[in-house]
């Protein structure tokens, strides 16, 4: 329950690569319309890019929640705790995604010698990563993040103990 046991297998690697290639393509898809205009409004991109960031900030050990009907009566409180913890952590990662997206839009909006034109997808992807990591690092060092993550893990452990 706590982890995907297939990690490290060839099938896992294939799934992972396909997933990230799709993410790369998703960045292009989000920018495709604005690019066609010739004068893209980068501030308008922000909302479009929140979700791709949020997906990448979601911890890989976060399992798909069991359906409430499949949880035994004795595990009800543990399940509720897990739901609350997952909601809280999703709130934290969503806030980071919004901040990352804001940073990305701001970086795209910069001009001058320190902000050379971005002419390739590879450069765009590198900037996307930089902005995401900067937003994440700032939040991840904070107490709220650590507390939400610890609660999520504790709730998962309790759920496992209650419904192995």
């Amino acid at each position: 329950m706590l982890t995907d046991q297939s990690r490290g297998s060839a099938a896992f690697l294939q799934r992972t690569l396909a997933d990230y290639a799709q993410g790369y393509a998703g960045l292009v898809a989000a920018l495709w319309g604005p690019m066609q205009s010739g004068k893209p409004d980068v501030s308008g991109l922000r909302e479009m890019l929140v979700e791709p960031y949020r997906r990448l900030f979601t911890p890989p050990f976060l399992p798909v929640p069991p359906a409430a009907a499949n949880v035994g009566a004795g595990a009800g409180p543990a399940f509720l705790r897990w739901q609350g913890a997952a909601r809280r952590f999703a709130g934290v990662t969503s806030a980071i995604a919004v901040d990352a997206s804001r940073r990305f839009a701001a970086a795209l909006g910069q001009t001058g010698p320190d902000a050379p034109p971005i002419t390739t997808l590879a450069e765009l992807h590198a900037l996307w990563i930089d902005c995401g990591e900067a937003a994440y690092a700032e939040a991840a060092h904070g107490d709220d993040f650590a507390a939400a993550q610890a609660e999520l893990l504790a709730a998962l452990v309790e759920l496992r103990a209650a419904a192995p």
């Binding site: 980068v42 910069q110 034109p117 990591e133 060092h141 993550q149």
Partner: protein
């Protein structure tokens, strides 16, 4: 309409995307045909087995440098073949090439029967048995001990509890002060309810730790790394390197529950190596009891064990012969980067030679 540095030409972007997709497909095809082989690339033989712990002795590759054998104590997390990944990326080969007699402590894969193992078992009994074997086999009083990452922390503890067994101590990317500002992992772990976790799980899944390590830099260690495969799609050797690394990253042994709880509480949460009051196996661990020469190697861009966590070893021990060496790289690059292959073995061998 806002100004932007975005200067993408849609037709060029379309072509770049098509090329990216072609290369990723090619990389996937190639990866499916690559076998990464066993654990490590250098000739070795089992010198001792103690529980699941194996002491390996490596075959000599050069004229004897005339130094006491070097015992490498790896971490409990991840597998030690990172030190001998492939012929051109091997710290162990580099040391062998300089005439050192190299042993490696391999903790194996703990299972449910090991959930009660404590730090006393690892630091005193198992590492002790390995060191005693080498002392007996070579008729020497003390070995040279090289501790890697968490294995370095354990080596400091062993040297403090058994100073007569360690002639020289080398630590590599070793956490000492667990409460420095840059240590993100420690900030997270301090909030962990490790008692309940171990009570519920027994052993702690290695994959869970691995997920935590990746979560330290989730974009660089996933999206960026995997997108980078497109750049090496036609380079089979680079793809082999990638796959070996990927295999190593996900090859994470489960952690014996009791020892994990003790390590998290004593080091990460209570920082007792620095603050004092660390007890292992009922004996106080006083780092001032370590009086042998120390070489402390850390990496300037280490995201897992930041230099600030390693540097405090200076002044913490009773050693009057302390040397610090900062490697320009990260936690993984210190083993596998090109620059490390010559620099690290040379630095370690020269330092030992001078003592």
């Amino acid at each position: 309409m806002s100004a932007t540095r975005l200067a993408l030409d849609p037709s060029r972007v379309g072509a770049e995307m098509a090329e990216f997709s072609r290369r990723m497909t090619r990389a996937l095809e190639q990866l499916a045909t690559i076998e990464t082989g066993g654990e490590g690339c250098s000739l070795r033989e089992e010198a001792l087995r103690h529980g699941k712990t194996v002491l390996w002795r490596y075959g000599r590759m050069a004229a004897d440098a005339g130094l006491p054998p070097l015992v490498i104590c790896y971490a409990l997390v991840n597998r030690p073949y990172m030190l001998d990944l492939q012929p051109d990326r091997s710290l162990i080969r580099g040391l062998l090439a300089r005439g050192l007699d190299v042993y490696l402590v391999d903790w194996g894969y703990p299972d449910a029967s090991d959930s009660g193992l404590m730090l006393d078992d690892y630091v005193n009994r198992q590492l002790g048995a390995c060191i005693d074997h080498v002392r007996r086999a070579h008729g020497i009083a003390a070995v040279n001990l090289l501790g890697v990452c968490q294995g370095g922390t354990m080596s400091i503890c062993h040297a403090a509890l058994h100073p007569e067994r360690v002639r020289n101590l080398v630590t590599m990317v070793t956490p000492v002060d667990f409460h420095t500002a840059e240590n993100l992992l420690s900030k997270w772990v301090r909030k962990l309810d490790v008692e309940r976790m171990v009570a519920a799980l027994g052993n702690v899944p290695g994959a869970l730790l691995n997920a935590a390590f990746i979560a330290l830099m989730p974009l660089r260690l996933t999206a960026q790394k995997y997108a980078g495969l497109a750049d090496i799609a036609e380079d089979r050797a680079a793809l082999e390197n990638f796959l070996r690394m990927e295999r190593w990253i996900h090859d994470s042994p489960d952690q014996a529950g009791a020892a994990f709880r003790e390590f998290i509480r004593g080091f990460f949460q209570e920082n007792r190596l620095v603050r004092g009051g660390l007890v292992i196996g009922g004996r106080a661990v006083d780092p001032r009891a370590v009086c042998c020469p120390i070489l402390n190697i850390y990496a300037s861009k280490d995201h897992l064990v930041p230099p600030s966590a390693s540097r405090p070893l200076a002044g913490l021990t009773g050693s009057r012969d302390y040397t610090a060496f900062e490697f320009d790289g990260g936690h993984i690059g210190i083993y596998v980067s090109r620059s490390a292959q010559e620099l690290l073995p040379r630095t370690i061998a020269q330092w030992l030679q001078e003592r």
